[in-house]
């Protein structure tokens, strides 16, 4: 116990030596619970005033001049010594907030206290957020104001980050809610079709019908599988970092078209491919493949059987800065009323459409992830043109 007392005593005596108060310290401090000389008490408060990290000012309310200032105030206003602030007009130190500050000081005089916060251009640290507190005190016959100014830049910064994060989270939450609502619907639809077919099958006496029911069950299950694949493409894009490698468009297009051979209409459609390379193109191969696959399969699915020569034209132009992928067709086109909605999750324009409705949504998300952009032009009955620009990514190795 006595050791602790000694350590505190020692610290205090050192402190007093540092601020050159000229006291030997130990003797007086040992009596700190007893009576103190007025001089010593004054000194103590002076230390408290000077050493506080908070800006402390004593202000004359008649003309708003500074009567006393501490070291933190000197730092804030870029003065060598706090004494240099004495006699200065406080409002003059805050020209941008002079009006507000004047009001605040008046209010303190009237109500006893006041506060407000503002941004201040400090000479040392640039703009800082400050909170000012003013309070009225009576000293003898005089009324004075004491003013505390605190740097709340860090708090403000944290507040801004928090607000921003909160907004982002709310957006994510809304998206997630929408996603869960939509997917549960889309996943349930083919499942209840299968359930309905099973109900029929269980009570069907005509055996010839059994084959039909089983075929339709298979169709529903394939659709469910397609939706799940699309959802995986979507979540893959959301979760995984962009993985850059050189892309051979000729190869990628061949692969994509091979995968689309299951579409029966592909036989009737003239597929025109044109790739022009002027150098190597680097981007995320898997993501580019999903873009190609979705755009081309859309053009194939929505071909116009009444067109003279149904075609799908795929043009890829690679330059040092970007790749332009253009998929054009003379298919059924998109009604003008649907155009603003085609990139919505699970939006389907036609009841005949076999897809999940998520394809163009995924394309949009991927293009955004790759920092590209896309354009659609379409006229109902005449065809559509989808153009995607993807920046050429300098390879990261």
């Amino acid at each position: 116990m006595s050791g602790v007392v000694f350590a505190i005593t020692f610290a205090f005596s050192n402190l007093i030596k540092i601020v050159k108060l000229g006291h030997s310290g130990k003797k007086e401090l040992n009596q700190n619970s007893g009576d103190k000389s007025p001089a010593e008490e004054t000194e103590r408060y002076k230390i408290l005033f000077q050493k506080a990290p908070l800006v402390q000012l004593l202000v004359n309310p008649c003309n708003n001049t500074i009567l006393d200032a501490n070291r933190a105030a000197a730092n804030l206003y870029g003065r060598e010594d706090a004494a240099l602030l004495i006699g200065q007009d406080l409002l003059g130190l805050h020209p941008a907030q002079a009006g507000l500050m004047k009001e605040s000081l008046k209010e303190a005089l009237r109500q006893g206290e006041s506060h407000f916060s503002f941004t201040f251009q400090s000479t040392a640290n640039g703009p800082v957020d400050l909170a000012l507190f003013a309070g009225k005190i009576a000293l003898g016959k005089n009324e004075l104001l004491f003013v505390n100014i605190q740097d709340i830049s860090e708090t403000k910064k944290a507040e801004r980050i928090l607000t921003q994060k909160n907004n982002e989270l709310q957006k994510t939450k809304a998206e997630l809610d929408h996603f869960v609502y939509s997917t549960s619907h889309e996943l349930r639809a083919p499942l209840v079709s299968v359930l309905g077919l099973i109900n029929l099958l269980e009570t069907e006496t005509n055996e010839n019908e059994h084959v039909t029911y089983v075929r339709l069950m298979k169709e529903s299950i394939s659709k469910l599988d397609l939706i799940i694949h699309d959802i995986i493409d979507y979540s893959r894009n959301a979760r995984f970092e962009v993985n850059v490698s050189p892309i051979d468009f000729d190869f990628l297009l061949e692969k994509t078209i091979n995968n689309l051979q299951y579409l029966p209409q592909i036989q009737k459609i003239d597929l025109r491919l044109k790739v022009s390379n002027t150098g190597i193109f680097c981007s995320d191969k898997r993501r580019v493949e999903v873009i190609l696959s979705n755009l081309i399969s859309n053009s194939l699915k929505f071909f116009n059987p009444e067109a003279d020569q149904p075609y799908v034209e795929i043009l890829v132009q690679v330059s040092p800065h970007q790749a332009i992928i253009r998929v054009a067709d003379n298919g059924r086109g998109i009604p003008e009323a649907h155009l603003p909605r085609i990139f919505e999750m699970f939006f389907r324009g036609y009841e005949q459409s076999t897809g999940s409705g998520i394809g163009l949504y995924i394309v949009k998300e991927i293009v955004e992830k790759l920092n590209g952009h896309m354009q659609v032009e379409s006229t109902e009955g005449q065809g559509s043109v989808f153009t995607v620009n993807i920046p050429n990514h300098p390879q990261s190795n």
Partner: protein, 130 residues
């Protein structure tokens, strides 16, 4: 027969087939008409009123999630149809949705008499007529 004319509005061919079979097996309706989207359903009602009002359906099975105009879009326009249609045709939602909001929105609509979850069953049909 519970009803004379029944209208099914659903974009799914499979579900339309399943629903038709169930209705036929229960001898629930004399005539069944199928429309594959909401707009076609609305057109059918208007046309039937003009040509042969006796064929107006007493009951409509209406799907919710459909391309272009969904079931709720149908209901919004339905309220402005000819009073003869609105009084004659009752609507039962027939959907795969198990969403509480969809349910609430549907049953709050004055023209909707029932909310049935797919797949349609014999039991569900009996409950509608009760």
């Amino acid at each position: 027969m519970a009803v004379k004319n029944l209208l099914l509005i659903d974009d799914s061919d499979i579900d339309n087939m399943v629903n038709r079979k169930i209705v036929e097996r229960c001898h629930f309706a004399e005539n069944i008409t199928v429309k594959k989207n909401a707009r076609a359903g609305l057109e059918y009602l208007n046309d039937t009123l003009g040509s042969n009002p006796a064929l107006l359906p007493e009951l409509i099975f209406l799907d919710i999630r459909m391309p272009d105009m969904d079931g709720f879009g149908f209901l919004e326009i339905f309220q402005f149809l000819d009073p003869a249609i609105r009084q004659h045709c009752k609507i039962a939602m027939l959907s795969s949705s198990i969403d509480a909001d969809d349910y609430r929105r549907a049953v709050e609509n004055p023209f909707v008499i029932s909310f049935v979850n797919k797949p349609l069953s014999v039991q569900a049909l009996q409950e509608i007529t009760r």
